[in-house]
């Protein structure tokens, strides 16, 4: 006689870990978004292989040359190949996503976790700090931080990271407040697990799901805002091949050489569109009201 496994249906009903992602990818817009983002990632990696010229190489005889077979996206005022500079610019954009979005995620998670878990005066202080940061229009706060640190690409990424911190802090705090009341957290407390260990091992991993969605949604905005600061002369400095800085160059020559500004702008638009498409699909998937 064989003994049947107790409650076999429980195992059968358990969803595979990739099921939510598969559901998201069933949507056409998510597929398109993913294709664009993967294309962007491919370009960042393959830029040295695909770029026909060095992005810094000046060839004054080709200055302001319009798009042609020789220069696919034309050449800028110093004869640098715009196509190569746009390709290399994707690397700066990816760096901005990693540094700025990563910094916001790190700082926001730390603030939200500590405030939400400890509660009381700590929470009150954290939330007032968040309120103060939210009292600035986002680009103004970035401008103030860049004014203090000095204009550079790294400082502009730090500034954008700080600007986005409050949003992550609020989101994580909300999640932590819900998770800390769950039985397994109370059980961990009851057996005397140190508070830091409960926070890092039990609360944080279980509060992190929506943060991933937010990080995806913010990635596009981070690209636009870092490029915006570079466009204003407060981010990447010449001669870096940054999309915002390329647009600033194009601004000075837009009456005579439209191609300098057009192609970097299209690149920013494409990447942001890709992240927004994925973000929209993720939001629809995780928002029960929209899903129904």
């Amino acid at each position: 006689m064989t003994i049947a496994a107790p409650y076999p249906s429980l195992g059968a009903a358990k969803e595979r870990w990739y099921a939510p992602a598969a559901r998201v990818l069933r949507r056409h817009e998510a597929k398109l978004g993913l294709a664009i983002v993967l294309g962007f990632l491919f370009l960042t990696v393959a830029a040295p292989l695909l770029a026909p010229y060095d992005p810094y190489d000046q060839e004054l005889s080709s200055a302001l040359a319009p798009p042609s077979a020789q220069h696919l996206f034309g050449a800028d005022q110093y004869g640098r190949d715009v196509f190569s500079r746009v390709l290399y610019g994707s690397r700066t954009a990816l760096l901005a996503i990693i540094v700025a979005d990563g910094l916001a995620l790190l700082l926001g998670s730390a603030l939200g976790l500590v405030g939400g878990f400890l509660g009381g005066a700590v929470d009150a202080i954290v939330m007032r700090l968040v309120d103060v940061l939210l009292a600035f229009p986002y680009l103004l706060l970035a401008l103030i931080i860049v004014a203090a640190l000095g204009p550079s690409l790294t400082n502009s990424m730090i500034a954008i990271g700080i600007v986005y911190t409050p949003q992550y802090a609020r989101l994580i705090r909300g999640q932590v407040l819900a998770v800390r009341a769950l039985d397994y957290v109370r059980a961990a407390r009851a057996i005397g697990t140190p508070r830091w260990r409960i926070m890092l091992r039990h609360v944080l991993p279980n509060s992190f799901g929506p943060v991933i969605v937010m990080a995806t949604l913010q990635a596009g905005s981070v690209v636009v805002e870092t490029a915006g600061l570079s466009f204003l002369g407060l981010g990447a400095q010449p001669p870096s091949p940054d999309w915002g800085a390329l647009l600033a160059d194009g601004h000075n020559y837009f009456l005579t050489a439209w191609w300098i500004a057009t192609f970097p702008g299209l690149a920013i638009f494409g990447v942001v569109l890709g992240f927004n498409l994925i973000g929209d699909a993720l939001r629809d998937q995780f928002d029960p009201r929209r899903r129904t």
């Binding site: 103060v132 009292a135 203090a148 466009f231 920013i268 638009f269």
Partner: protein, 361 residues
């Protein structure tokens, strides 16, 4: 006997109404008072952020003022004059007291009072922001409403594709493309500035459109309007997309509620159901989003003013940062944050007008 609604009469009727009205009013005032206290706390926080951020500036304010030519003696004297030898808390308190009187020091570039520079530039930004918000609301709300009427059909799909493009558009690029198309190529609209040389209206409010209207000159008004169209349309794009999206989503969510079904069931005309029952109840989140666009607009104004060479507050801030004119940066930052927080408060208070439930909550 026909049924009549029960009328409350007698001496208690008026008292009840009056009590409820007074109670509503006192609750509202208590709420406004509480929000003003919160506003004061946030503003103190904002002033701390602005003051201390500016104080970590590499170098010293006195060195910035004197430049490379200053001797050590002059530097020490100036530091004493500016109170930089005092503890930082004392410096902060002095800063707050002076700021409360609109005194942020003298601009290092224009040699005028820093707050004068800010107050001169602000009307330009205000005009641009209001024009963009008007365009975004006037086009965004109807677009969202019409898209929600037939979800999944051609207009809805077109509108949603447009809004997706709108939220993904870097406005500094869109501005350049519009300049290229309508300014440089088609030559329909001017490519920058507030007005043509010789067409500047006399400064009254600082907003070119209103000043031209007050001057009673149609040609000046037309010129100011032509100069405003491209920047306002550029700045309106992203908020328009957000407003259209939220309007559609809220209309769809409200349309399935019981009171809308009841309104339909009792045979009300469709237009009345949509405007009076669906749109009215969807208005709160829409107003919230419209109010929240201010942050986006003020941020976007920095970029738009740069592209269209407008002498607004955003452009002033960027120029001041690049020239390290820290009194103007401080004045501008505090001023914008103050306006932003104040408008958010007004948006919150507007809910009480739109929704009686909040008034009585």
């Amino acid at each position: 006997m026909p049924l009549e609604p029960r009328r409350v009469s007698g001496p208690f009727a008026r008292m009840r109404t009056s009590l409820s009205w007074r109670s509503d009013r006192s609750e509202l005032w208590r709420y406004i008072g509480w929000r003003l206290i919160q506003l004061a706390i946030v503003l103190i926080g904002v002033s701390i952020v602005v003051f201390f951020t500016m104080h970590v500036l590499p170098g010293d304010v006195a060195m910035l003022l004197l430049g490379d030519r200053g001797t050590a003696e002059q530097l020490a004297k100036l530091r004493l004059q500016l109170g930089l030898d005092q503890p930082v808390v004392v410096q902060y308190l002095r800063f707050v007291l002076a700021a409360a009187h609109g005194d942020f020091g003298t601009s290092l570039t224009s040699n005028r009072a820093a707050f004068d520079d800010v107050s001169t530039a602000f009307p330009v930004t205000l005009q641009l922001t209001l024009a963009a918000l008007t365009i975004a609301t006037v086009i965004g709300v109807p677009t969202g409403v019409f898209a929600s009427l037939r979800p999944g059909r051609t207009f809805d799909n077109l509108a949603m594709t447009f809004t997706l493009f709108g939220v993904s558009m870097p406005i500094f690029w869109l501005g350049l493309m519009l300049l290229l198309a309508f300014g440089a190529t088609l030559d329909w609209l001017p490519i920058g500035g507030l007005s043509e040389v010789g067409m500047e209206p006399p400064r009254i409010t600082g907003m070119s459109l209103i000043d031209a209207a007050l001057a009673g000159s149609p040609s000046m008004f037309w010129d100011a309007l032509r100069h405003l169209i491209l920047p306002a349309c550029t700045l309106a794009t992203v908020p328009l997309a957000f407003i259209a999206r939220i309007t559609r989503a809220e209309m769809l969510a409200t349309a399935t509620q019981d009171h809308v079904r009841t309104a339909r069931a009792k045979g009300l005309p469709r237009a009345r159901v949509i405007v009076g029952h669906v749109l009215r109840n969807a208005l709160i989140p829409i107003v919230t989003v419209i109010g929240l666009q201010l942050g986006l607009l003020l941020s976007g104004a920095v970029l738009t003013e740069t592209i269209f060479s407008l002498p607004g507050l955003g452009r002033l801030m960027v120029d001041s940062i690049l020239s390290r004119d820290y009194p103007v940066v401080q004045a501008g930052a505090l001023f914008i944050a103050f306006v932003f927080v104040l408008v958010n408060l007004l948006v919150d208070l507007s809910y009480t007008l739109l929704d009686p439930r909040i008034r009585r909550a």
